[in-house]
Structure formats: C-alpha cells, structure tokens
Amino acid sequence: MARNKYNIDEVLETPFDIRHFKRSFKYIKRHAKKMIVALILSVFAAVSGLLGPIITQHALDKTIPEGDMWGLLFLVLLLVITIVISVVFSNIRARIMTVVGQDIIFEIRNDLFKHLQELPFEYYDNRPHGKILIRVVNYVNSVSDMLSNGIVNIVLELMNMFFIMVFMFFVNVTLSFVVLAGVPIFAAVMMFIKRRQRRAWQQVSNKSSNLNAYLQESITGTRIAQVFTREEENAEIFDGLSNAYRGAWMKAVKYSNMVAPAVDNVSMLVRAAIYAVGLLIISPSGVTLGTIAAMTSYAASFWQPIINLSNIFNNFINNIAYLERIFETLDEPVTIHDKEGAYELPEIKGDISFENVTFSYEEGKTVLENVSFDVKSGESIALVGPTGAGKSTIVSLLSRFYNLKDGRITIDGHSISDVTLHSLRSQMGIMLQDSFIFSGTIFDNVRYGRLDAEEDEIKAACKTVCADEFIEHMPNGYMTEVNERGSMLSGGQKQLISFARTLLSDPKILILDEATSSIDAKTERLLQEGLFRLMKGRTSFIIAHRLSTIKNCDRIMFVDNKGIVECGTHNDLIKLKGEYYKLYTSQHEEISV
C-alpha cells in the first residue's frame, strides 16, 4: 500500500457487511445477562408507565363524578406508586447500561491497542500517526452508546411496535392496513436517505482523520514551522482541512436531519388516511366513531416506536462509519507473529548465522540478496557502507522486525522464526537511530530497559555511558521530567539516555545503530571504554561512520550492492585495498591536513 499523508483520504478497503454486527456482537455478548436484565426492567418500567393513563381514566370516569374523595386519594397514591416504580426501574436500567456501554468500549479500545502493539513497523510507517490515534481515542468513544443503549432500545421498540400492532388488528383490520401502508413509504424514503447518508458519514470520518493527522504533525513540528516561518501557510492548510471537515459534516447532517421530517410527514399522512378512509370511504355505518378515535391514537403510538427506531438507525449510520474504521484496524494483518508451536528461545549464547537471506521492503526492490555469514558468540561486528545500503536492514532482520523473503537466520542454531518474538527481542539490546524519550522522569526512561532494575543499577548504567554527570546537574536530577519534544535535553543527551536504557536491559546481543552519532568526540571516547567492557562476551553489531569506533571491532563487514562485499579485520581490509580501504583513506585525507 502506498503511504498515506494528511490530505489523502483513506480508502475503506472492506465494504460494510453484516460481519461488523457479528463482530460487535462478540463484545456485546459478554454483557448479555446485564442487557437482558436491563431489558426486563425497561419492560416493567414501560408497563408501569402505561398504568398511569388507565388510573387517571378511571378516576375521571368514576371516582370524581361520584365525588369519592378517599377513592381519589387512593388512586393518586396508586399513580404515585406506578411513577416511582417506573422511575426507579428506568434508573437502574440506565445505571446498568452506563456500565455496560463503558465496559464495551473499554474492551474494544484495549483490543485495538493490543492489536496495534503487534502490528509491524510498516503499519506505523505508512500513515500519519494522528490517523491511528483518532481511532483509538475518538472513534471508540463514538460507538459506546450505539453498542449498549442502542441495542437494548432496538429490542424494546420492536417489542413495543409488535404489541401495538396486535392491538391495532384487534380493533380494525382495514384501518390497520392503512396504518401499515405508511411503512413501505417510510422505508423507501429511509433507503433513499440512508445510502447517501452512509457515504456522507464515511467522509466525515475521513476528514476528521485527516484533520487529526495534520494537527498531530503540526504540534510535533511547530519548531520547524517557526524556523521556516511557515506558520501562516500551515494555518491555511489547517483552515482547508477544517473546512473540508465542516463541509463533510454539513453534507452528512443534511441527510441525517431529513429523517425526522420524513417520519413526521409520513405519520401525518397515515393519520389523514385513517380519517379519510374511516370517515369518507368506509362510511360511518361500517366503522364506529370510537374505532376511528382508537385507531388514530394507535396510529400515533405505532409511529412513536418507528420514530424512535429511525433515530436509533440514524445514529447507527453515523457511528458505523467509525465502527468500520475500528474493525478495519483490528483486521490489519499481524505479519510478524509467533508461529504455531513457537518456543522460548533459551538464553542466547550468541552464535549467529545468516543463511542465504534475501529481503525486500517492497515487492521487486530487493535490498539484500542471498546474504550469508556467520558470527561467533562474543564477536563484535562493524557494519559499514553507504547510506541506504542495508546496514540497518541487516540488524532489523536479526531482531525479526521484518520477515525474510528467503533464507534463514539462526541464533545458536534456533531459527528466529521458530522462537517466540518476546523471548527473542527481550534478549537483544537494540539502540536505534532515533532515541525516543517518553514523557516522564529520566529515571523512568532509563528503567524502560529493565522494569525491575534497582535505583543503583540505573545509576550505574548512566555512569557507564557518562550520562550520570549531566543528569545530576539537572534541576531534579534523575527525577527531572522530560518529554518527547522536550527542549530540556540535547540530541547527544537523548542518545546517552537511550544508551543507558539499552545497557540496563543486559542484552545478550547488542546492536548499536548510529547510536552515538550526536555525541561529541570526547564523551564518545569515554563512552567507548564502557562500551568495550559491555561488548566483552556479547555478540555485538555496530553501525557507525566514525572509523575510530569501527576499527576496534573483531570484524568489519562492508555492505553494498545488496550484500556484504568485504569482510575481515581492519588490517585485512586495508590490505585488500577495496571499498573499505577507499573509505578509510578518504577520512584519513580529510583529517590529516
């Protein structure tokens, strides 16, 4: 899939089908008992509510004309009791359903989040993060009411409709058909609205997603905007996106708001038809006036559930646009997962072998072809070569961040695709090019490497990477709060913190991918002592441009042309007078002025 950006609508790849309801049912099912209780309570509340008019009727017809004061008091008391019952039951129902609704979205959100943790890098690389975020937070919030109260109300209104229909047919069959004749008309109108409405709400979800994507990027990139004085232009882009959202919204409500007048008019037509048919066509002899009165009142009650149902339906259509996005994300394939029968990788000794590894990020663009090499336990390997040659790819494959196209990678003889991802990755220490800092204290950021680490272990790790000094210098030392965009830390300091984090995890295989590029030469020098101590006894891969770092490795691999073109110790490669030699001498020339 091509990458997405903020102003490209995401195409919905799966059309809506009944499966979405089935899947929602999975979440609803867990709360079925509570929902049934709520339903029963609602029925009681409704019945109790229906008693009110009967009591009043009785009072007006008999008790009051008879002047029976005590009888009146008794009936009022009865009325109050039915009111209390109805209110209390409704309230309990509402409480139950609040909890159910919240629990359902809690579960959906947790599932979504869990699934996101399993999705590969590509998923995150291929779309703006704001578009992922809006699904986890905003979209999930939108569907809460639909999946809880919505469902119960549908059942309730359908029941309601059924009973009224039965009553209606008892009173008069012909007029009942007149009432029912309104239904197909209404259905036709709804179908007309629905098709457009659904597409319109999908657009709303698209536009809000775009807006969120741009918002997130703009907030993260404010500084760049300010550097390039792009504030006004960015604001105009944002205006455009906001306007597109407003447009989509207006278009959607244009249809949504049609539902109420449609119901209104159709129900009035039905009522008019009852008068017309009852009074003018069947003629007074055929129908008693009382029947007509009863029918008009039933027609009104019959349409009430239809009005309610169409409102619920309306709501469903809006929210399904969100629901299908949520399910789409849940359906996103987890391309890298534990295969069946995957076992825990035993403690790594560190023998690594690449056997005819072929890999490409995109179809037809091979990055590595038929790469084979062996690394002995405890060896340190430097990977050098031009940018984009595939150095980072080699180490990413080792951690199984991507699946191979062909070939095999083994660690201590275990193929990495046969072992569990967790047992593999948790034994590796990977320091990436981007040193991401979580918001929280510096202490917590380092501890991320090993959650059960003691304070002195954390401090020791920071000392080893020479971060201790600047951390102690900060206003609250290790407890200083930092954040993702924090201006508190320099690039080098961030790298040191993430270095300490890696070190703390006590990895069996150490991978440093441009880990020290922003660190100054002197600190790096100090760091190297710690680093070499750390590398002792561990298999390690180092990607760096500084030859001083590279030279001390046991072996150097020069990566180019989809594979390893030279491999050997520093001295071997110098003697070879190949690519490495060229690279080395160019730096030499540069410096010895």
Partner: protein, 586 residues
C-alpha cells in the same frame, strides 16, 4: 458565565444565523402546540361531537379540506424544523471552525516553553474532543434550553388563563426541580473536569505509544505498554462511569418530580372537580398540555449536566486560547526585507529552570563567514544557536543580527532570513519534494532537484521508483538517519537563507557523502553566514572560526591551525579522531 461571553465572542460571523435558528426554534415549538388544535377540529366535529354524524354526511368537503390542511401544516412545520436544524448545524459548525483555526494559530505561535508544558496528546484533545463539547452546547443545549423555556412559559400562561388555582398547584413542584438542578450543577462540575483530564491523559498515552512504537518493539515492551494503557483506559472508563452515575443519582428525582405532575394534576384537579370549582372542560384543557410543563422540567437536569460538561471543556480550551507567547513581536518591530547576516553575541547568558546553560558568551561573525561550534554533549551548543532566530530570549546580554538586537526584529522577518537543520530531524508525512520545498512551497521543481543534489538527496531518491513523489512517513520513518539528515539539509538550503544553521546535520551521513555536502556548502550560489555544529574535525576544519564551548562558556576560539597550536579541547579531539591513522601503517 465568562465561558458564555467567550462563546458569544467566537460566534462572530454566525450570530445572525444562530439567533435566527433560536427564533425559528420558538416558532416551531409554537407550531407543535398548534397541531393538536387542528386535529381536535376534526375529532370534535366529525368523531366525538354531537353533530358528528350530520357533519360526515353533509360537510365532506370541509373534512377533506381539513385533512389536506393538516397535511400541509405538517409539511410546513417539518420544513421549518429542517431549516431550523440546519441553521443550528451551520452556525455551530461555523463557530467551531473559527475557534479551531484560531486555536491552531495560537498553538502554532507559542514558544518552546509552552511545548515543554503541554503534551501533544493533551493539545490534540483540546482541539478535537473538547471543541466538540462546544459544538454540542451550541447545537443542542442552548437550543434545548430555549425550546424548554418557550414551551414552559407558553403553557404556564395558558394554564393561568384557564384556571389560576390549578396553575399554582401544578407549579408547586417547580422550586424543587430548581433546587435539585442547582445542587446537581455543583456536584457534577468537578466530575466532568476530571473526565476531561482523563481523556487527555489517555490521548497522550496512546499518542506516545504510537510515536514510540519502534522503541516499544526494540525492547519487547508490548506487554508493559498494554498494561500501562490498560490502567489509563480503566481510569478513563471509571471517570466516565462516575460522571454518568453522578448524573443518574440526581436524574430520578428530577424525572420523578416531572412525571409526578400528572399525579398532582389528578389530585388537585380531582378535588377541584369534586368541589365543583373547575369544569371537566377546563380539566381536560390543562391535562392535555401537562406534557408541555413536565417535559421541559425533565430535561432541565440534563441540560444542567451538559452545561457543566461544556464548562469543563471550555475551561480547557480557554486556557490555551488566552495563552500569550512570551516571545513575540515588539511594538514597531524592525522588519527589513533582507538582512546581511552579521551576527554578534554580547555577554550573552541564558538558562532555564535555574540552570545556567550559557555564561557570558561574546563573539562576532561577519556576513558570509563560516563558523563551527564544538563542545561536549550538553555544553550549550544547540541552546546558543537557538538564540539567533530568537527561540529563546537571553537572560542577559544581547544577540545582534546586522547590529540590531534580535528582540527588535519582527519574528517573521528575522526568521525568514535564517534557516536551520535541527538536530532532531523532523520531516512531514509528505512527498520528498514537499519536504524539501517546505520553506517555499512555490519553489520550481528544478530548484528542488538542485538543492537535493547539493545535499546528497538525489543520490538515494533517484533510486526510488516514485522519485521525489515518494511519500515519506511521519518523522521520516522508513528512511535511514543519514537520509533524513540530508533531506533536512536540502530543506534548509532551499530557502536561500542569509544565515544557515546546521545543528549536527551530517552526524549520521557517511564520510564520502559528508565530503560532497561540504563541497556543496562551500559553493552555494548565494551569500550566507553559516554556523555549523559538528562533532567531527573533518566538518569543522575549514571554518573561518571555530568556537569551543565548555559548560556554557567559550573555552577556545580561532581557526583550525590556531586551535591545534592551542593544544586544548580541539587538539584533543583532533588527536582522538586521528589516532587510528597513526597507529595503522597506511
């Protein structure tokens, strides 16, 4: 009620439409009251009245007219209702649009201290979820309140006209409703505040997890992240339940009282009927409209609850809305079109949170010169260059550009002439072309290619199937560190700045490429002052001046050969980086 004034302010441009919508609401509600009157005409004359039979036989045409009238009336009424609804939507969307775009500008113009304080996810919540609460207030709550009040007033007047004693009896419960609503208002306010906080916290947690997905995977911390999110999700869920349940403890009383009106009606009406102080007709007239009193009373609590929710969100938005950046244009700002590029630091000191980062820095750079800055991690290099485009204001001393203090410039004209490739490379999820032309989106394609060539971008982009139209991921994910740095460099060069600042821009670039970039920088076809922060001697040795920072002070300053003679930090670094070559026999 400051929030209400604020929202009125922001309704500017849509006020007329909004008031039109409110008025139309009132009209529609009156029409709703009129519907039963029309159907009553039919029922009374043709069904229940004593002349019904005669009327049906002899006044069929009138009946037909009445029926048609009823249909027409409904059509008009629902048409008006539709117009009314759409007016609410249009005006509330308009207000939200203008608020959202204003907020964006406010957020965008804040300085770095603001960004240290607010997390991305939090800001995003304010500009999305919280704004939606404002929309809800405009499109539903106000409208509901107006409609309820109209209905209530109209029916109360009607009741008093019919029978004042009955009216008073029915209204006897109203004070209770108001008392409960007032109490509700007090207790739900903090609950809603907390809910909004939890929502922001959840958004922040999810946002950071998504941005940090690589680190999460590298450390196999998925389970930890899931647990962390699970607890935040739980807290949000609990806050949501708490808010709803708080409302549900009050709503049964409000609901109960509203519904009890029918009991009050029966009791008082019954007594009055028995004592013959009202007629059956009067009783029926009032009871037919009792819903017009009980419905508004029932909804009152709901609106109070929603208003509190609105207040909580409005507070969060207003906090941002009234934020003033500390770094802003001075009055009568100096705004030259172009600057020359002389830079001078005069006894500059700077620090944050009590930490002095720069101490008494003084130096001069002439237009067109190249200056390299080196020093240990955390010695203040990045801070120093951030003072030139005035991302921070100095604590002491002056930063001068062309002899004018940077605080006197309009920010725009100052920054327009400076461009920067920052250490933390931030690219946008846009095409490579779009990223390079970020500083000047109307830049011709050839210009983009030229800058790409200079910065060594073309070398790898030419290999991509979609070339410059390749969309890169947010923050440039999918590209290697060196590739990102090169794009960021091309972006900085592309605007042809008078002052070009490169903060460690080639650290992840291989040596051959670095050489190419240095050649490019030397031969730029426009004159500019260059400030380069670097770690490698190879990047700095040709500079006109090299500044060595140590713990916020200038430790050494001079040319390559001067500093080598000096045998200080620079010399040490030189030796460190050269060491390997001496040992190996090349």
């Amino acid at each position: 009620m400051f929030q209400l004034k604020w929202i009125w302010e922001n309704l500017k441009g849509y006020r007329a439409r909004y008031i039109f919508a409110l008025t139309l609401s009132v009209v529609c509600n009156i029409l709703i009251l009129a519907t039963p009157v029309l159907s009553a005409l039919i029922v009374d004359n043709y069904i229940t009245g004593k002349d019904a039979l005669y009327n049906i036989e002899n006044k069929k045409d009138v009946l037909l007219l009445l029926i048609l009238g009823l249909i027409a009336f409904t059509a008009v009424k629902s048409g008006l209702q539709y117009i009314c609804n759409m007016s609410y939507e249009r005006s509330s969307q308009g207000a939200i649009f203008s608020l959202r775009t204003k907020l964006f500008r406010i957020v965008e113009n804040q300085d770095l201290t603001f960004y240290d304080e607010y997390r991305t996810g939090d800001l995003m919540t304010r500009l999305t979820g919280d704004l939606d609460m404002i929309r809800h207030m405009l499109a539903f709550v106000f409208r509901g309140l107006i409609e309820s009040i109209t209905l209530l007033m109209a029916s109360v007047v009607y009741f008093f006209i019919v029978d004042w004693k009955m009216a008073i009896c029915i209204l006897s419960l109203t004070p209770l409703i108001f008392l409960i609503s007032l109490r509700l208002k007090r207790v739900v306010a903090p609950v809603h505040m907390k809910l909004r906080e939890k929502l922001a916290a959840m958004n922040t947690a999810a946002q950071e997890n998504i941005s940090g997905n690589r680190v999460v995977k590298a450390f196999a911390r998925e389970q930890y992240e899931i647990n962390k999110f699970d607890s935040i999700n739980k807290e949000y869920s609990a806050a949501n339940k708490a808010a709803s349940l708080k409302w549900l403890t009050y709503s049964p009383y409000l609901e109960g009282i509203a519904v009890s009106l029918s009991a009050v009606m029966l009791l008082s009406g019954g007594i009055f009927l028995i004592t013959k102080s009202i007629t059956m007709g009067e009783y029926i007239a009032i009871s037919g409209l009792i819903w017009a009193v009980s419905n508004p009373m029932r909804s009152l609590g709901m609106y109070v609850n929603d208003t509190q929710r609105f207040m909580a969100s409005a507070m969060k938005i207003m906090e941002i809305f009234y934020k003033k950046p500390t770094i802003k244009d001075p009055e009568n700002a100096y705004a030259p079109d172009e600057i020359k590029g002389d830079i001078e630091f005069k006894n500059v000191s700077f620090g944050y949170s009590g930490n002095k980062v720069l101490k008494n820095i003084s130096f001069k750079i002439k237009a067109g010169e190249t200056v390299a800055i080196m020093g240990e991690t955390g010695s203040g290099k990045t801070t120093l260059i951030n003072l030139i485009p005035r991302f921070y204001d100095v604590l002491d001393g002056e930063v001068l550009v062309d002899g004018v203090n940077v605080t006197e410039y309009s920010l725009k004209s100052l920054r327009k002439n400076i461009s920067m490739a920052t250490q933390d490379v931030l690219l946008y999820s846009d095409t490579i072309d779009g990223n390079i032309a970020y500083g000047n989106s109307s830049m011709p394609e050839e210009e983009v290619y030229k800058c790409a060539e200079l910065a060594g971008v073309s070398e790898f982009v030419d290999k991509m199937p979609e070339g410059y139209d390749t969309i890169i991921g947010e923050r440039g994910v999918g590209l290697s560190g060196g590739q990102k740095q090169r794009i960021s460099l091309a972006r900085a060069i592309a605007v042809k700045p008078k002052i070009l600042i490169l903060d460690d821009t080639t650290s992840a670039v291989d040596l051959e490429m670095e050489k190419h970039i240095q050649d490019s920088l030397k031969n730029l076809d426009f004159l500019c002052t260059k400030i380069i922060i670097a770690q490698r001697i190879s990047s700095t040795k040709d500079a006109d001046k090299i500044i060595i920072l140590d713990d916020g002070k200038i430790a050494e300053m001079g040319t390559h050969s001067e500093l080598l003679k000096n045998k200080g930090y620079y010399y040490d670094v030189f030796m460190l980086q050269n060491e390997g070559f001496e040992r190996s026999e090349v």
